[in-house]
Point group: C2
Chain length 514, copies 2
Amino acid sequence: MNGAESLVRTLLAAGVDHCFTNPGTSEMHFVAALDGAAEMRSVLALQEGVATGAADGYWRMAGRPASTLLHLGPGLANGLSNLHNAKKAGSGVVNIVGEHATAHIALDAPLTADIEGIARPVSDWVRTTRAAADVGADAAAAVRAASGAAPVVATLILPGDAAWSEGGVVAAPEALEAPRAVPEAAVTAAAEALRKPGALLLLGPGALDEAALADAGRISAATGCGLMTEWSNARLARGAGIVAVARVPYPVDQAVEVLRPYRRIVLAGAKRPVAFFAYPDKPGVLTQPGTVFDELGSAGDDIAGALRALVEALGAGGAIPKGIAAAARPAIPEGAATPESIAAVLGATLPEGAVVVDEGVTTGRGFFGATAGAPPHHWLNNRGGSIGYGMPVAIGAAMAAPGRKVIALVGDGSAMYTPQALWTMAREGLDVTVLIFANRNYAILRGELTNVGVANPGPRALSMLSLDHPALEWTHLARGMGVEAERVETAPELAAAVKAGLASEGPYLVEVMI
Amino acid sequence: MNGAESLVRTLLAAGVDHCFTNPGTSEMHFVAALDGAAEMRSVLALQEGVATGAADGYWRMAGRPASTLLHLGPGLANGLSNLHNAKKAGSGVVNIVGEHATAHIALDAPLTADIEGIARPVSDWVRTTRAAADVGADAAAAVRAASGAAPVVATLILPGDAAWSEGGVVAAPEALEAPRAVPEAAVTAAAEALRKPGALLLLGPGALDEAALADAGRISAATGCGLMTEWSNARLARGAGIVAVARVPYPVDQAVEVLRPYRRIVLAGAKRPVAFFAYPDKPGVLTQPGTVFDELGSAGDDIAGALRALVEALGAGGAIPKGIAAAARPAIPEGAATPESIAAVLGATLPEGAVVVDEGVTTGRGFFGATAGAPPHHWLNNRGGSIGYGMPVAIGAAMAAPGRKVIALVGDGSAMYTPQALWTMAREGLDVTVLIFANRNYAILRGELTNVGVANPGPRALSMLSLDHPALEWTHLARGMGVEAERVETAPELAAAVKAGLASEGPYLVEVMI
């Protein structure tokens, strides 16, 4: 058995059975090993950002890692920004990168690069395998790092000779790290804090599934505390019957206003609220000076268990959770597609079990209200802020959740970062409905010019934010990659198109002119 | 004057007047500063790989750097692989990356990343500016690093507060590094080596313009030595009246055969020939054991001057250069488009002064023979091996060489890495004719499977190399980004399409079915 074969078999033994890849010469032995492993679903991406984003989306819905297989330093570099997003989302990824054979590295061939150096900024675990005999054990260690309670992006670098040499050994799966129990003292302190006036329970990773949200609702019912989530959630349960929680708003001024009443904040997996960006005359910290924070738990902790313990400490086990969303669907409005009417169309059409991948940027900021009463669904946000995340994440989510409808909401500027994702959706026949919000602008940046103090931007500045010359034609782009597509201008047209997309089994793209 | 304004003015004072960018919030002050600087041509790219590749192409044709302007760590990451290519090509780039305001970095906002860490693997010069007062001086130092005899990718990281704070100071241009004269002893040693039987003069950067090639031809005429260039040349002068030099072939076996006669090799700017990739049973070093190398000069040395001195040392000033290409254009063949007939069409149609950006991968390996007698032109290869280079480099080349016809030759797999380049070509009205070689395969990798010893790849392995399901439709993709396009299947159709593309003033895409 060569090293590449031991890698594939070790991954499969550990339950890693999806590989998002764009391989090259240095990975050909791995590709060959796939022939002997029908259980490994190999998914080709035409640019590595698609592969790494798909691995992120896969983790979010499957709760276990997929692998990538990338070609040397440049292949890794192309996938780096979606690995950044995965890291910030707390998604585990077994990120496999081919390397030249050990003796070849010193020759400084054209593709030679510092792969470990490129990997480190986005990987909390990096290892270069030394020999074929080590590949299996290194792969098992990478899977462990990318799994369990505090998963990371684990980059395993595989030199060609380690892949092609005989002597591979399949390694058994390593035991995974279990979530750490939150100490009783932290629970007691949180209970005390939340009973005080002006208290907020801020929910983050680990507190966002239906049961944890219900416990948060009970805590709120018992104490009167506020409930909120961070602006971006890796995966939030929502819909009728589920406790609906508002997000800390994105705009700094709004966020400061919303948080102003709270002087005592219990962090349940969440981080202290800070601004996405710095501005000359706005605060970076969104809370008021003197706010007291209690940390109920952070990454690796059993946050859901801590919320359960908190319910018990408060004697709130019998309480009816506060904030449960009632079943309600808005009517489909007449008229043009606007952020508000798009929200209503989503609320009217979201099917039960939908997975919404939200990269709506400006258009999508207000979608929560109109969709809160739709049937239960999951909502996935970008926690890393690097655009080009939406369509790749939708690929991984669709593969991890077969039978569920995936809806990707993507601004046109963001979608142009990783348009190649459409091809992979078509190739794999993935049930994804993509809504492209075509405002033909980097709309978010128009506001940001004002925020940074530029009162009257001139034509040269504005032209750097504009996508309208030439106009991007998404129906052409989609058809160029084998994806059925249509363009809509009104809310009723959008509703019909979304229904058509949901009814079709493969991908379907709707260009929404706004 | 704020820091951003001092940056723009310092760049302009140093002759840097093109900026390839995709800015974000943290770069909005730079965008605002552009309004006051009509001399700076700002070019928007929809993905940063387009911006960095364009900067590479600009340097190759202008011989001076352009700047980029990228958004934080992820924006830099997206541009990293074409910076890798630029680094390997020896192209100077003033690579400007925005950073959060200094106080914001510690807050660990979503987009916070180790920007210096991401930059270092591709940048031989990295600096983070501390304050507005330093921006001008740091920019001048970056321009110096990216200019002169041994230019590098110089990454200047600009925190938001350094950009927006008052106190910017425009810095005067720094003196550039002049090429180092090659010592007389090296010239004498080279002359002695080249007079021996079995000697080869291997030409690299600095030895590839028309005059240097003529001197190389004189040296060959006087000594009988062989002449060759490396496989990839950043910019090679070619065509009727210019000394035509073969390249060391890409396939290892062919390269070893071609180099086998030579036991004494003089390196004029070139590196010792090594294989692109390692293979289990092939050598990584392409020359025979015991081959003696003489280094006439390397990066930063005056290679052209050394060749001139060598001509004089050999008394070959009056010699007629060996290998001057005679004017000759092949006939346009009948029949299907094949690598051979495409080569003939190029030879028949290349206009004088054309700039050929070659990312033909498999299809383009044999284009040199049929084009050697076309009117004088330049030929640009990828020296870093990271695909997605061709169309972005064509953008920069077209902007640096207005009035010249740019022809980009790109495999379909490569073109899908940076398709966004088409939009920038349309927006800027660039005179680029793009030929997409649509074999709907990563054709190079089919051969590589065999090279690494996989005799009978199965369907799962082969499917990782195939782009035919769904078929990519380049005419749709081009129209989706505002570029006129047509599809051809035969050599005469291709010839007509190339002529149409050359006659049009904006970009024109030809999908060549092969």
